[in-house]
Amino acid sequence: MTQLLLFNVVNGLIIGAFYALMALGLSLILNLSGVINFAHGGFLAIGGYLAYTLVPYVGFWGALLVSPFLVAAIGILIERVLIRPLYGRDPLYSLLLTFGLAFMIQDGTRFIWGAQSLPYQIPDWLAAPLSAEYFFLTGYRVFMMVLVAAAVLGLFLILNHTRLGLRIRAGTLDLETVSVLGVNVRVLRNLNFGLGIYLAGLAGVLAVGMLGLEPTVGDNLIMPSFIAIIVGGLGSLPGTLIGGLLIGVASGVTSVFFPSASEAVIYVMMAAVLIVRPRGLLGEEGRF
């Protein structure tokens, strides 16, 4: 029983780490640009597929390093061409645009790589369990957790200790003033979008080692990511992180006792948070 519980807590933490990685990217873009990026799951899929294509040339580690940057570059290009004209308009339009993009990316990946799920090879020593008793703790899972933690740490370091991060945080609070102070807001939003998409790409490369490659691989992760943002608190990145981990663990633990409710529990949590504390766990008052 303890082993089963531990298994599901670990599982929940890993899934939660993915939710958090996705949600942090979504949250960055939402906070600075007011855009809900429906295509985030699509970028995640692109990250996985690019890694799949790159592995024969640059190996597992090379793909892990290069693929997220390529995805971020695609994201930066898309922001520049398609999303930039929509700033200042009703958020409805950017929502519809990213919605259409999500369709196009899903169909595009299916067109290029096919609809069948593809196998993704991870190094043997990572795939092996660490101990016989805790068979579910494979090296890859630990490795993923470490990498997600490093990515999150890196993100907060960027936000708190670089000029770019300072500007992103300031822009989240008051973009107009930041613009008046001489910061090029267009470039800032562009880079910020790229940063968010990088996280999606990274999540993609990591996820395919566990979930396999399918055009719809991002679909199951995007809704929980929205909920992670709502639960954690709109406008708060630490909140988003906690929200992601929380709903991951909650659904993991629930699957021990009521397997069929493991998806439902995250919606219940969202409803509970919205009733008791509409701004979310760490959200600031009056941000919306």
Binding site: D90, L92, Y93, L95, F103, D107, A264
Partner: protein, 316 residues
């Protein structure tokens, strides 16, 4: 003469709707597509009650549409084989769900409201997906069909006659449109417009804004549910795709494409969207790409919609 133009437009729309079964086959189409347009138009107009006239963006209307559809299907299949009873239950279920969820989200605005409607919409998708014994899970509710209307003294066979079902859908659509137009012209509807134009000023005038948005939300979802009941009856089938989030996106793009500041905009948007979708999906396997591209193009080059552009041209 804008007033005359408007009346001429109304007459033209009703003429086209009422004569559709006669000219649709002549232009190489079929009556069922007409029913499709009417059903989706009702859903998009219901959404537009909230989106265009209250200024609140919901991206989760598919949930209430789908609840209406499931309510009808499951009532006819398990409880009582009658079309009107099924429809009543369907609308009641979606209205009740909207009324319960409303208070949790009406405090939010803008993108955050949209995000919460998306997330809540997904709840019902999961229920429909998981509850295999009731909803059939992924396979949906099948092995039932709509019942002919029987009012004792007369009898309409909407089951076997596509044109009869089309007129039945048009009748429901007409009654709903009339009711929505009436509501929008009432002091309540004018208050919604005031909230859309300037929420802060409306609040200062003493209008309970959140409560008005809640009422508008419930009305909008109720009509979306009604459209959903027609959807289930039209297909004699319903599956979880009826309440998934991509369905919500379709409703929004229909409203935007037709023109969300116009009463008939969503109808025109629904007609264009569905004819296009019908055409594309019969010509290519990659229809998703084209529909996605269509979304992008509408947003970038056509944000005011068809009627928005017509109206702007005719304005001095």
């Amino acid at each position: 003469m804008p007033a005359l133009d408007k009346r001429a437009g109304d007459v033209l729309i009703w003429f086209l709707l009422l004569s559709a079964p006669f000219w649709l086959p002549a232009v190489g189409s079929y009556v069922e597509l007409g029913s499709h347009v009417v059903v989706y138009a009702l859903a998009a107009m219901a959404l537009n009650f909230l989106l265009g006239y209250t200024g609140v963006l919901s991206f989760g209307h598919a949930a209430y549409f789908g609840l209406g559809a499931y309510g009808t299907a499951m009532t006819i299949k398990y409880l009582y084989p009658s079309t009107p009873v099924g429809m009543l239950v369907g609308v009641a279920v979606s209205t009740a769900a909207a009324a319960l969820i409303g208070p949790m989200i009406v405090r939010l605005r803008g993108v955050y409201f949209a995000m919460c409607t998306i997330a809540f919409g997904q709840v019902f998708y999961f229920i429909a997906f998981q509850w295999r014994s009731g909803t059939g899970g992924d396979d949906g509710v099948s092995a039932w069909h709509r019942m002919p209307l029987d009012f004792g003294f007369f009898h309409i066979d909407i089951l076997n006659n596509p044109a009869a079902f089309y007129y039945f859908a048009v009748a429901i659509f007409a009654a709903s449109a009339a009711l929505m137009a009436f509501l929008l012209r009432s002091p309540f509807g004018r208050t919604l417009l005031a909230i859309r134009e300037n929420e802060r000023r409306a609040r200062f005038l003493g209008i309970p804004v959140d409560r008005h948005i809640w009422i508008s939300w419930v009305i909008s979802c109720a009509f979306a549910g009604l459209a959903g009941t027609l959807f289930a009856l039209m297909n004699n089938f319903v599956d979880p795709r009826a309440l998934r989030w991509d369905q919500s996106g379709d409703f929004v793009i229909m409203a935007v494409l037709g023109g969300m500041r116009s009463f008939w905009g969503p109808l025109i948007g629904a007609a264009i969207f569905l004819v296009l979708q019908d055409y594309i999906s019969s010509h290519t396997e990659n229809w998703m790409s084209f529909i996605g591209l269509f979304f992008v193009l509408v947003v970038l080059f056509f944000p005011r919609g068809v009627l928005g552009i017509v109206r702007r041209r005719s304005a001095p």
